[in-house]
């Protein structure tokens, strides 16, 4: 039941926030904050109450009949992987509410309504294990996100929002066709109509069908992740969205793509995914390099950060398709740490824009002297982003490279160049914006206590993940073992190859 509550509280919180805006402009913010905080507490209850026996896959689950004639269930379940994603979601949710505290001044009620509902959609995506429910949630989280972009976004918000929606919807419908194909093939071989994840696992598929269905899923997740060349919506959407929207896009929505690959593509279609490995690895490496190069050449600070996401998420793809536990752990770590470091960078850029009303790097410079705390935080997260050892991102990318080295030395070498390139764009950003003289004689207030609090918590989080990632990896371990078992992870097969 806790799982349903997690979603219901967010939905209800959103409605309350929208209504409460009639009486006060502060009330919606506090209600949203309270709703997410309650969810965080509930999530810790799941953690405390989880069954420790290894025989049970799920910590907790809810299974209700939904549309019996189609075999559709309202089936939510949580394991280590989804649990980590939930914690990330609620943490970044709180960040999103806090960072829009002064930025959003109009239509506050409706803003928080959308914020809560997009979080509810994301939580449902991480919990759903009925494929119909998954698709339902997958599409549903788009709409509030779309509103966040087109109503509170910047100059080209309508263009960016529409592009985002069309890309996701098109790929989503292809996934729906793939889900239906799987559903009917499963029926043909077993006589049972079901969208149930655990029952669809191991559906016997012919090679061609498996590849086609796998591609349907892959495209949907690749658009979200994003995988070059399906990434073009991302720089626009991230740049034009309000700060909270960028945090959620980069920190959470992109992760639903990685989560989908881990949860569905690999376990449901192990053979096809394995066939697809060379392509996926190459795409991952292309993304790493392309994102880094593009980030280097941006003058819009927000766009720069957006392109770094393309680069970092390339590591996730590389890790997932390297087919060994090191790389998988690395992919997961990268997903979580990227959420924190990039989320924080977006908060900083948003804060900067609120103060000086521009995102143009050429108009900045010398900000360190006027806003040292803000600049120092930016330095910290840039260093995290370029993979400084001791911070979370380093652990993730290092593990991915270790894992992928076993699969392809050449691709790993190229991917490592991506880390090198990230040093260039991160340092260039610091150089242009914060160091040097202050030609425009900007005078701006430094981080406020509220912003300082966000930064401190995120810095501590990244340090913790960087120095002691073991608890996260331990939480992921049972889910990963399952993944390897279900997918009959051909690590062994790989080793057998010369």
């Amino acid at each position: 039941m806790i799982l349903v509550l997690l979603i219901a509280i967010l939905l209800l919180g959103g409605i309350l926030a929208a209504i409460s805006a009639r009486w006060s402009t502060q009330l919606p913010r506090w209600i949203s904050l309270a709703a997410i905080a309650v969810d965080l507490v509930l999530a810790s209850r799941i953690w405390a109450g989880r069954s420790t026996s290894t025989s049970k896959v799920w910590y907790d689950e809810v299974d209700w009949n939904w549309v019996p004639s189609f075999g559709i269930h309202f089936h939510l379940a949580v394991d280590g992987l989804s649990f980590l994603m939930l914690i990330l979601t609620f943490s970044l949710g709180i960040v999103a509410v806090l960072c829009s505290w002064t930025e959003i001044r109009e239509k506050i009620g409706f803003f928080h309504f959308n914020l809560m509902w997009v979080l509810a959609g994301i939580v449902s995506v991480f919990l759903a294990i009925d494929l119909f429910l998954f698709y339902f949630a997958w599409e549903l989280m788009l709409i509030p996100m779309y509103f966040l972009i087109v109503i509170w976004g910047h100059e080209r918000r309508v263009y960016a929002g529409t592009k985002f929606f069309l890309f996701t919807q098109c790929s989503g419908l292809l996934m729906l066709i793939a889900i239906l194909a799987l559903y009917f093939i499963h029926h043909q071989s077993t006589g049972v109509y079901t969208f149930e994840y655990s029952e669809l696992l191991g559906t016997p598929l012919s090679g061609g069908a498996e590849l086609a269905i796998m591609l349907g899923f892959f495209v949907a997740f690749a658009v979200k992740l994003p995988v070059v060349p399906l990434h073009t919506w991302l720089p626009d959407a991230h740049t034009e969205a309000p700060t909270a929207g960028s945090v959620i896009l980069a920190g959470l929505l992109l992760k639903t793509g990685g989560y989908g690959l881990l949860r569905f593509v690999i376990p449901l279609f192990p053979r096809a995914a394995h066939q697809f490995t060379p392509v996926a690895l190459t795409l991952g490496v292309i993304g790493i390099i392309y994102g880094a190069v593009m980030a280097f050449s941006q003058t819009d600070l927000k766009r720069l950060v957006a392109y770094t996401s393309v680069s970092h998420l390339g590591f996730v793809l590389l890790g997932i398709f390297s087919w060994n536990s090191l790389a998988l752990q690395g992919a997961l770590m990268t997903m979580i740490c990227h959420g924190l470091s990039t989320g924080a960078l977006f908060v900083l850029v948003g804060g900067l824009q609120e103060r000086i009303h521009t995102r143009d790097l050429n108009r900045m410079g010398g900000l360190w002297t006027v806003a040292p705390r803000l600049s120092a935080s930016a330095l910290f997260f840039s260093l995290a982003s370029l993979g400084l050892p001791g911070l979370g991102d380093f652990v993730g990318e290092f593990l991915v490279l270790l894992g992928s080295y076993r699969v392809s030395v050449a691709l790993t070498v190229v991917a490592t160049l991506g880390i090198l390139a990230s040093t260039f764009y991160a340092l260039r950003m610091m150089q242009r914006a914060f160091f040097g003289p202050n030609p425009n004689s900007w005078q701006l207030p430094d981080l406020k206590p509220r912003e300082g609090l966000i930064m401190t918590v995120m810095i501590l989080g990244l340090l913790w993940l960087g120095f002691y990632p073991q608890p996260v990896l331990n939480t992921f371990a049972p889910a990963m073992d399952n993944l390897e078992r279900v997918a009959q992870m051909p690590t062994a097969a790989l080793r057998r190859q010369p």
């Binding site: 004639s69 069309l166 098109c170 292809l174 066709i177 029926h187």
Partner: protein, 475 residues
């Protein structure tokens, strides 16, 4: 014809009776309230009589009409949607000058025509129903004789509808020449391919023209945007929903059991479906008039319905019926909103009429957004479940190329729905027209439709169950 037959025919008889009563009522006392009240009472009685007839079916009432559970379901849908149109018409016409009573007479007659269509199993009743419907619609479309656009729409509809009816009659003649029978069951049992019935196939093709015209699919779609734009909003709602529902109901009966196995008919319908999906969605992109956008989108939606039809799997009748219910609910709500926003001078059909609607009238705008998302097939609306059902029936029959076309064109469609959504949520340029109160009748209809739209979108089980029980065609 015995008593049980008459009882089974009661819904149709009551509709015919209502028409007479309404006509006499107008002759005795010309009163808008009274006429609308009589109409609604008659429709309600007819709707209730469906439940009285239900235990007696299936029953062949003469060789022309077959009353079975299928027909009763469609009758219920038709009468319910007409009732919604009648309520909307009341508010729409109440604030306008002139005499509005005859519109209700035409409305009831058109409904009777629709009822005959969904019960007919014979070409004679097919033509009869179609003509009752068409002739009433001529009057309804051009009801505002002082509006140029309305007259243009009426004339256009008149000419094109008569032409297509002529094609239909010619097709019937060819079919009769070959088979010597005019009942649907006689052609159902014939094999079309490679037979010596050289006239049958052209006959069927010509009769498809008549059906295609009423559905407004490409290449018979030319009337749609003009009629949608020119007709009064509630009448457009009727043309878009009830009349098309009736024709699809007939199409399912006419063609489903046998003829689509013929390669030629399959090919013909495939071309129509693909052309409709592409043309409807692409042409809508350039429109700034909400009624015209809805017209082009309806072309695309009936293309989607044809995809399910072509799939020809066991799920097809259920999928089409569910989609029709979803479409009817959605479009009625859409035109309901156009109706309540219309002023006494003009219909609210310009995109600018909707600018910033959300910040002026949040509830109305939320319903409108739900409508647009339903048309786009986004989850938590009936439109999504309908699209899911159609894709499921396509996947069941492995009709992959058609499904891919459906998906790609519906993404194009999303673009113009989003454009309207953005307008609804955009900033208002200046304070526009003052708030008008929603009449309680329209509020009730819109509220009910919104509840159905989201309710069945989230929990479609009961409707699935009803459709399965009456029509069959799911797993």
């Amino acid at each position: 014809m015995n008593a049980a037959d008459r009882l089974a025919l009661l819904p149709l008889l009551l509709l015919a009776g209502t028409a007479v009563v309404v006509m006499l009522g107008i002759a005795v006392k010309r009163s808008h309230v009274l006429t609308a009240g009589l109409t609604l009472t008659g429709l309600a009685a007819s709707f209730l009589s469906i439940f009285a007839a239900a235990p007696l079916v299936p029953r062949q009432a003469s060789s022309l009409l077959l009353i079975d559970r299928y027909a009763l379901f469609y009758l219920g849908l038709i009468i319910a949607s007409t009732a919604a149109v009648a309520v909307l018409s009341y508010q729409y016409f109440a604030k306008r000058e002139g005499q509005h009573e005859e519109l209700y007479l035409l409305l009831v007659l058109a409904t009777l025509g629709c009822g005959v269509l969904v019960t007919s199993v014979h070409f004679v009743s097919f033509l009869l129903g179609l003509e009752i419907l068409s002739i009433s619609l001529y009057g309804m479309v051009a009801y505002f004789t002082t509006r140029g656009q309305a007259l243009e729409a009426g004339i256009k509809y008149l000419i094109l509808a008569s032409t297509s009816a002529a094609f239909l009659v010619f097709g019937m003649a060819l079919i009769y020449a070959d088979t010597g029978s005019l009942s649907f069951s006689s052609i159902r049992n014939l094999s079309l391919d490679g037979s010596d019935l050289a006239l049958l196939l052209p006959g069927i093709a010509l009769s498809v023209t008549g059906i295609g015209f009423k559905l407004g699919v490409v290449p018979f779609h030319l009337w749609t945007p003009d009629v949608y734009q020119g007709a009064p909003a509630p009448v457009t709602a009727f043309v878009a929903t009830t009349s098309k529902t009736a024709v699809v109901g007939l199409l399912l009966r006419y063609l489903l059991a046998g003829t689509q196995q013929s390669r030629a008919v399959f090919l013909l319908l495939s071309v129509i479906a693909v052309a409709s999906m592409c043309a409807g969605n692409l042409l809508a992109l350039r429109q700034n008039n909400v009624k015209r956008v809805l017209a082009y989108s309806s072309i695309a939606h009936f293309g989607y319905i044809l995809v399910a039809f072509l799939a020809g799997s066991t799920m097809t009748p259920g999928a089409i019926t569910f989609y029709l219910v979803a479409y009817t609910v959605t479009i009625l709500a859409a035109f309901g909103i156009v109706t309540v926003l219309s002023t006494s001078e003009a219909d609210a059909d310009d995109l600018d009429d909707y600018r910033g609607l959300f910040w002026r009238r949040p509830v109305l705008a939320s319903v409108f957004t739900a409508v647009l998302l339903s048309l786009a097939g986004i989850p938590a609306t009936m439109g999504f479940i309908g699209k899911f059902y159609i894709l499921a029936s396509g996947a069941n029959a492995s009709a992959w190329p058609l499904m891919i076309v459906l998906v790609l064109t519906s993404v194009v469609g999303l673009f113009y729905y989003l454009r309207i959504v953005v307008t609804v949520f955009s900033e208002e340029p200046e304070a526009r027209s003052s708030r008008r109160r929603l009449g309680w009748g329209s509020a009730l209809v819109l509220g009910g439709l919104a509840v159905l739209l989201v309710g069945f979108g989230v929990y479609p089980g009961p409707l699935f169950h009803l459709i399965q029980a009456t029509i069959g065609g799911t797993n």
